[in-house]
Amino acid sequence: MSNVLHGLLLAGGKSSRMGCDKASMVLGDGGLTQAGRALGLLRQFCGTVYLSLREGQPVPAGGEGVPVLRDAPGAQGPLSGILAAFHQAPGAAWLVLACDLPLVRPGVLARLAARYAEDPSSPFVAYASALDGLPEPLCAIYGPSAFPVLARHAARGHFCPRHILLEESVPLLALPEADTGALTNVNTPQDVAGARTGAREVRVTWFGHLAEQRGLREESVATKEETVGDFRREMSDLHRLDLDPGVVRVAVNDEFAFDGHRLQAGDRVVFLSPFAGG
């Protein structure tokens, strides 16, 4: 017997860091809001799709007309949304997706659905984070047998879905090769800018007279440049700094780097004006 698969879009997060409602934000995709885009994805795999919202929270743009499930009492955060879904339909399996994962593509959900179809008695089907290997609970399938497990944890005051999946020793899937960054969430307007443009976020530290000219010691920069040399030119033009490659060296992740070195998201970049020790 196979269970029906319902979709649940989690849009109840408070978005305090964003300064506005994440779910209503448009990130490209032909003008769709994050909520609208994610609902469209879920509809490809689920007959019925619900929108999970906090008590009293207005429906985000793009979610109009979608049935709403309000957070269940007795839990906190996303877990209260997932429990509300099981109260609505205890016999269904739920494909749960957070609305702040703009890089999720259909293939990511397809792999979850295919794995669940292989064994509908599984309580959880989830990916391992490409970053730290930990479970990714907010893009996952929760089978009907997950309901009592989640309820038991909630009753003990355990509300963190990631910890619950860890404690339940859930076997984890690897993300599809082309989508290892798919579960990167966006929490800040800078993240959104990065997700929108394909830019990567690097941390730049300044020392000596360059710190003085730049007027700060540390900053986070979203750049579309791929190499150290191109990033050097971008920063030099942007801030009118003399970063001449014959004079200023560059370090990436605390090691000297050539201009041809390729930047990765999260790299620490330091521009090194001529040294004057001794």
Partner: protein
């Protein structure tokens, strides 16, 4: 052995460590804060280091030069606010004979100035201050690495 230390630094432990009985020659260099620079009276120096890379590169230099000359070598550089007469950097090289010790000590202090990411700002009488221009040859020096 290469260390970065907040002012004041104490080279005595490094000196004890280098002075082995098979070393007949021990040369050390002390770089001290000078009270003048290009005709101006210096009241103090501020040393700033990119610690993670400075320690890594400093250790590499010491190993490189010790191996090249067959000596025992060590160095320590101060960070923070120093005044004239304070010890800014100490470099030591110990070897069986004096030639290698002199050569290694000289080469190590030159290399530290050129290759270790440390910068200094001088303060002058009257309250003005400025970053001391380093040697741009450091950028080219690193190209072969």
């Amino acid at each position: 052995m290469f260390q970065l230390g907040n002012h004041p630094i104490d080279p005595a432990p490094l000196r004890r460590e280098l002075a082995a009985d098979d070393c007949g020659g021990f040369v050390f260099f002390e770089g001290r804060v000078r009270d003048h620079h290009e005709g101006r009276t210096v009241t103090g120096l501020h040393y700033e280091a990119y610690r993670e890379l400075a320690e890594k590169e400093g250790r590499r230099l010491v190993r490189e030069i010790a191996l090249k000359h067959g000596v025992r070598a060590a160095a320590i550089h101060a960070t923070g606010d120093l005044t004239p007469g304070d010890l800014a950097v100490w470099v030591g090289a110990a070897a069986a004979h004096r030639e290698e010790a002199f050569a290694a000590c000289r080469e190590l202090i030159d290399a530290i100035k050129a290759r270790v990411p440390i910068w200094k700002r001088e303060s002058y009488v009257g309250g003005s201050s400025g970053w001391v221009e380093g040697c741009a040859c450091a950028a080219r020096h690193g190209e072969g690495r």
